[in-house]
Assembly symmetry: C2
Homo-oligomer: 182 residues x 2
């Protein structure tokens, strides 16, 4: 199969922010024509499917300015420069929920919005949880809420859970149960 | 529980693009302090889990400039202004793969990157497929590839499938099979 690669002919840096950068690239298409691509660059992130000893998923409720509403998500956070994703996952879980987990395994990594952004989210499963103390960033306001599988599925129906990584995590959890892995 | 709402005190429009807009908002936090939020606004999108009569998932291989690589995704596309998501899903599936499906059902909608973007993806299940003719946008280059469940899981392992909506769709497909729904 021929390559569909789009080579950058010119690029304009629109914005370098605290979290994201925006560039507009003029690219050559496989048919020789030109087009533009609006590209958001992001440092990447981690998310954690943490399951308690009484078989509940650990979530955090928080306000998301982009969505103009409060939502319930699995614990997550951005990677610091050169940070190992697993160490970041352990740090974010503890900061947001106080939990220290002794068993960790990688589930998947995925790009969230491949059409315009390079944000890559690494998702981990955390088990054998111990309670510690919450330590939020100074501009972070979240409250921990633990839910059963049925409760979390109801929260998807009510749109309280409304983001890709959390719905993915709940499907993984249900799939593992059905396969006898959880 | 108290509200975590972040009110906008000031906003700066950084960019109004063909696909995305970027604004930076100065917001008031629940503790009275201020912070900034970098916000990407997107028209929203649809994606389709289409299953063939011989039990394969329909995908398209395409180059994603943001990821600097070719990936395999379920058919998807952006909503036109005021477009009904189901009609958009039917249009995108036919444009990218030539397929006309006679049975449609809604799976989930989810925000892809709630930390910085309002992109909402509506995912549909399409069954009872008929072959028609492909009709791509002029700057769109994709090739259709159909895979079994096992093949699609291998493509996740090899990172050919590497985005949230496609991994979600494959989990949904496997879950439906295990529950006897597919």
């Amino acid at each position: 199969m021929s390559s569909f690669e789009e080579k950058t002919l010119a690029k304009e840096t629109i914005y370098n922010g605290r979290i994201i950068d925006l560039e507009v690239h003029t690219v050559s298409l496989p048919n020789g024509k030109e087009s533009t691509r609006e590209l958001v660059f992001h440092p990447g992130a981690v998310a954690v499917l943490a399951i308690t000893d009484d078989d509940k998923i650990v979530t955090v409720r928080q306000y998301r300015k982009a969505l103009k509403k409060e939502v319930v998500e699995i614990p997550a956070g951005k990677l610091e420069p050169n940070e190992d994703p697993l160490l970041c996952a352990k740090r974010e879980l503890e900061e947001e929920t106080g939990i220290i987990a002794s068993t960790w395994s990688k589930l998947h990594s995925f790009y969230t919005s491949p059409g315009f952004a390079d944000e890559l989210v690494h998702v981990y499963l955390a088990e054998d949880l111990q309670e510690g103390s919450v330590n939020l960033d100074e501009d972070e306001f979240v409250s921990r809420e633990d839910y059963t599988l049925d409760e979390s599925k109801s929260l998807i129906d009510s749109l309280d859970i409304h983001d890709a990584k959390t719905i993915y995590a709940i499907l993984m959890w249900e799939l593992r149960k059905l396969k006898g892995q959880a």
